[in-house]
Symmetry: C2
């Protein structure tokens, strides 16, 4: 007799908490306190005031100091800091992001771009919230293109001051949390000009308001007003008219100006210097990635618990069918459950890499670069996935999901901006794509078009290719030729090869197209032709970067299987297979066009996914329990069992009326009986 | 020399206005009046009060009477009424939907389900808003399954009254606009019970509040509170405890109860009677379909105008590139522009069919059934497309798109619920799928499995199959065998055949799977096996229904081409091709698996789409101008040219500083020069 396996919920729970379980539990305790929780429908003004007060509460609770140096009251705990931050999405994303502005951007910029004097001078007040600040990087005219900001910081050796200046409206700093109301200072990114030379973007500490909230001379601010979400944050614009700051307010870890105006930096290349400075800000992406994973957990906990109780339309037994027993409902929610696990496990790996770099345990240039690529690949996938899952959960719970107190619409509105801030998702994926191309090109002799052509055909053989963070092996072009069955695709190595081969082949094809575009051109026409060719390949490059991110997620899920054994391993392997095969099904057209899978094999994949859905359906509530989301964290009425109670009441009512003979007969039944008699 | 064609914007504009241009323009004048417009960030209380006041304004403006009988102050103009309603999405979706509750649901139920006495008694006050009302159909326990509502209306011949009663919490009426605050009466859907027999769901007029807002005895109400959007509407719950209403309050057009309790109806079958009553409510779906089209126009007008000005990242000429010149940006927005036109044209056809039925010009059972299928197929596609387009427009405009005053997030939040109300989209598509199966089965002799098998293989030949509203012809299984080129797929007939064949083959495959599931079973096991098989096919059936809707959209677009000539026809044909080929590309996996297209043909489709994108990019602003969205309707700062002004200012600033020699040289340039010298 075959019995349904049961997972060890505690084992899965611990695996999902990951390395910083203690910090996550501490943050969840904070998020469980009503003082820190969203009140749906609050006015923007009230919400902003409340969130500011909540930030004070976080300080009191000791919830935000972890990443700061021990001698300033912190604990040098970089991974734990971000892990805790990620859990605040259960309290209120406005609270989360405003705390991110204060301690993860404003404070972290002073910490990572400034030096000891700056730390001692400002960080205690930043940590205590005595000094709320803004992170003034983005400008109206230059969203994700930080290198092009137009604000200037011109050094005046006579006064030993920088003059911070906004030359035109497009250079206004924009979308800055704390800018509209609460910020008293800002870390301003500006072109550093000294002696008539522009040394590129640097960060400056600029006071902007008195503690009483009066703007300082030369500083202008404008309120961004109501937004699509995150209305607990006072986003706004800042501009500067010849605002003077002391020379020492340059955050000078990577570049400094002597009193006489001489510029110096231990990083010679201005490009590398810029990317090093910007690289210290990767923690924003890491933070959002795990926050997205948490919102996905919340959404699915709500939709699956409700779907396992809710009944609609009579089945063959006369009783309404439970939503989660519908084939479509399983298709809508269960692959997303698998994806949520994949996003969570990939997020752990990202956070661990982040901690290695920032703790200094493994702070090599290579690991730093890998961290940035990993973050740029995973943050887009997870933040988009969060919006997708929140929306599907909203629709799967119908009108009930649209009521604010059931949480889904609030998270959806707040997390909307996660896909374009801390780096627009498409811009980040393009960075990943460029890295893939660079790594790919690095292995070929310059101009070796034949080698690339061979790679495009998927015939690389032993010459393994390094893709960003991955080693990818042999060709699997023969996979499609095996007889009709899912056997050849469902095992782990086949999934890995299919996913990895797709990245490899896409990148090779783009590389060849780019090379072909200029190869017979005279030198003076190459730049334009190359730009045009790159533009023509842009959408494909981003697809390739996405495929790379999906591979990373799949591998993280697969590595996580090592945490489990027995029934738990069986179920988690099904879930990993559901994730992997869903990716292959999603990209079936690519596999077919490129001869990797036959049509019948694609159909077999779909059929096997359907079988997996039937199995995972039985595990869905346990897999949701492993998220460990208490009622205080979830706070969604429809996930409390209220629906099952109502149904029990309805059922009992009908049964009682049938028993006492007062249940009216339906006209349909009467007509049937009449027909039977006649 | 080839010149770029230019469209006749006025011709396209008129085509997009369609048959009820006058009414649409009247409604746009209303929507252009600030009194009727959204104020972002209003509190729920203020927003509700404002929208109620706006409803009064609509009455004064003569904006809502059109569908009512002439002798009651209306103009029997059903199509024009809905056309005007659809334009109100530019004012405020809350205003739109609350007016829909009052006049399109509450009032329309009295009009269509009631008889002359009811019309004379209540409609004048409904029209004048003296009598605000709720439409009490949905129950907590039964969202889209109206036949299962549990509220009872039990006739008492002694008192000649119905007793309206809510037997348990799951039977509370839920999500009703006007229920929380403003409704003084409700049309309540309840099981009509007389003489111990349940005659199924009927509608009853039930007073619920005094004009002063006091709930009447036995009536309970609860506020749904803050929602994900549409917060200008006072949604709530209603329940009834033995509430007595006169016998005459039964809306008795399709079923009546005599004083002695005898039930009568001119529709004998209870099932058909129910669907006839419910069928009168199709106008909600028609209304939402066109509203979705309008929101798509608004979103793309904003994103494309901004994208045509906004610059990011330096191109090879040193100037930042216009977003819309990026390959990815074109891929993101232009196929959605084509889809918007398809949705708009399909919406015209739906509205014309609606008008034919409701005006009586062509009110046959068959046309009524076709109308319902058409609405059930198109409303899901258009409302989902609206959310997709609003979100892509939001992301394509970055942080600016997240600011409420730029409109996108507000529409996105409000229209979210459009995908699950007036029929959950998936439930509607399942209805369409069932209709496709029924029509398909009707042409075969009972049990003729061989014939179905033949159909599945796509070999039907001359035996044309009727699919819902479409006649679909011969097999095109040979299309994939032509040499590598797009020639065979890009012309109109090839697009039609590919799209139609897909619907046909999917439906045939499902039909065969369903038949196979029971054919060797004993009778007593068939019901369960059949239900299980249907459930296993559910996701595929919904895919087939969606494919059917896409075919309808494509055909409507193709029919609309008859409105154009010359350059305009050329461009509109490109746009239709972009729509059709994008559908084929989206479903490439299906075409490949089923042998309809070869891999190289699929690649040729993608390459041709890329060429079309380059052409349509040049037409994008004209195609948006044809939406005729004035600044008063659009009200999005980023679509006003402000971005181009800011850039001109920035450009002038830089030029002037270069001219006067004060533009600082960049360190990168200095290093280059130093290298050149050494």
């Amino acid at each position: 007799m075959s019995t349904t396996p049961r997972i060890d919920v505690n084992a899965v729970r611990d695996s999902l908490y990951g390395k910083w379980k203690t910090e996550r539990l501490e943050a969840r305790r904070v998020a469980s306190d009503p003082r820190f929780q969203t009140i749906p429908g609050q006015s923007m003004e009230d919400h902003r005031a409340r969130v500011l007060e909540q930030l004070g509460g976080l300080v009191e609770a000791g919830a935000i100091q972890r990443a700061y140096p021990s001698d300033l009251g912190g604990s040098d705990n970089h991974g734990g800091n971000i892990a805790a931050f990620q859990e605040l999405v259960f309290a209120d994303p406005s609270l989360q992001i405003k705390s991110g502005v204060q301690w993860g951007l404003f404070g972290a910029a002073i910490l990572h771009l400034g030096t000891r004097t700056h730390h001692e001078k400002w960080l205690p007040d930043v940590i205590s919230l005595k000094l709320p600040g803004a992170f003034a990087m983005t400008e109206i005219g230059h969203g994700s293109d930080v290198a092009s900001v137009a604000t200037t910081a011109t050094y005046d050796p006579g006064a030993e001051e920088f003059e911070i200046h906004t030359p035109f409206r497009g250079a206004w700093k924009e979308f800055l949390g704390n800018a509209a109301l609460h910020g008293q200072a800002a870390v301003v990114f500006a072109q550093l000009i000294t002696g008539g030379v522009n040394h590129g973007v640097h960060a400056f500490f600029v006071p902007i308001r008195t503690p009483e909230g009066e703007l300082l001379p030369g500083v202008g601010a404008e309120d961004d007003g109501v937004k699509g979400g995150l209305n607990g944050i006072d986003n706004g614009r800042l501009h500067f008219t010849n605002v003077r700051i002391p020379r020492e307010n340059l955050l000078n870890r990577y570049g400094d100006v002597a009193p006489d105006g001489t510029y110096s930096s231990h990083i010679e290349s201005p490009g590398r210097r810029f990317f090093t400075m910007i690289g210290t800000l990767v923690q924003g992406r890491v933070s959002l990635d795990g926050s997205a994973a948490n919102a996905m957990k919340g959404a699915l906990a709500i939709a699956l618990r409700y779907g396992a109780e809710r009944r609609q339309f009579p089945g063959p037994d006369g009783r309404d069918t439970v939503l989660l027993d519908y084939g479509l409902h399983q298709r809508r929610l269960l692959p997303r459950l698998a994806e949520t696990y994949a996003v969570a496990f990939a997020g752990h790996r990202l956070l661990e890499t982040f901690d290695e770099v920032f703790s200094g345990a493994n702070d090599t240039d290579e690991n730093r670069e890998d961290l940035e690529t990993l973050a740029a690949a995973l943050k887009p996938l997870s933040t988009w996935a969060a919006l997708d899952v929140l929306q599907e959960a909203r629709e799967a719970t119908g009108g009930a999901g649209f009521i604010a107190k059931n949480r889904l619409t609030g998270w959806r509105a707040d997390l909307d901006i996660y896909v374009t801030f801390e780096g627009d998702n498409n811009v980040l994926l393009q960075l990943v794509g460029k890295r893939l191309l660079t790594d790919y090109a690095a292995q070929f002799k310059d101009g070796d078009v034949a080698a690339i052509a061979k790679a495009v055909a998927g015939q690389i053989g032993e010459g393994a290719v390094r893709f960003g963070l991955r080693q990818i092996g042999q060709s699997i072009a023969d996979l499609g030729q095996v007889a009709r069955s899912v056997e050849g695709v469902r095992d782990e190595s086949a999934q890995r090869e299919l996913l990895a081969d797709r990245v490899q082949t896409m990148v090779a094809a783009i590389a060849m197209a780019l090379r072909e575009s200029t190869k017979d051109l005279p030198k003076e026409r190459r730049a334009a032709a190359s730009a045009a060719a790159f533009n023509a390949q842009q959408a494909k490059l981003i697809d390739a970067a996405r495929a790379h991110g999906e591979l990373l997620q799949w591998e993280a899920f697969t590595e996580a299987l090592a945490d489990f054994s027995g029934d738990t391993l069986t179920v988690m392997t099904w879930l990993r297979d559901l994730f992997g095969l869903s990716l292959i099904e999603k990209h079936a057209a690519w596999y077919l066009v490129n001869g990797r899978l036959s049509g019948s094999r694609v159909e077999a994949v779909t059929a096997y996914i359907d079988r997996l859905l039937g199995r995972i359906r039985e595990q869905a509530l346990d897999l949701v329990d492993a998220f460990d989301l208490t009622p205080e964290l979830l706070r969604a009425e429809i996930a409390t069992g209220i629906e099952a109670e109502r149904q029990a009441e309805a059922h009992a009512h009908v049964e009682a009326r049938i028993a006492d003979g007062t249940w009216p007969i339906h006209e349909k039944e009467l007509r049937k009986r009449a027909q039977a008699v006649s």
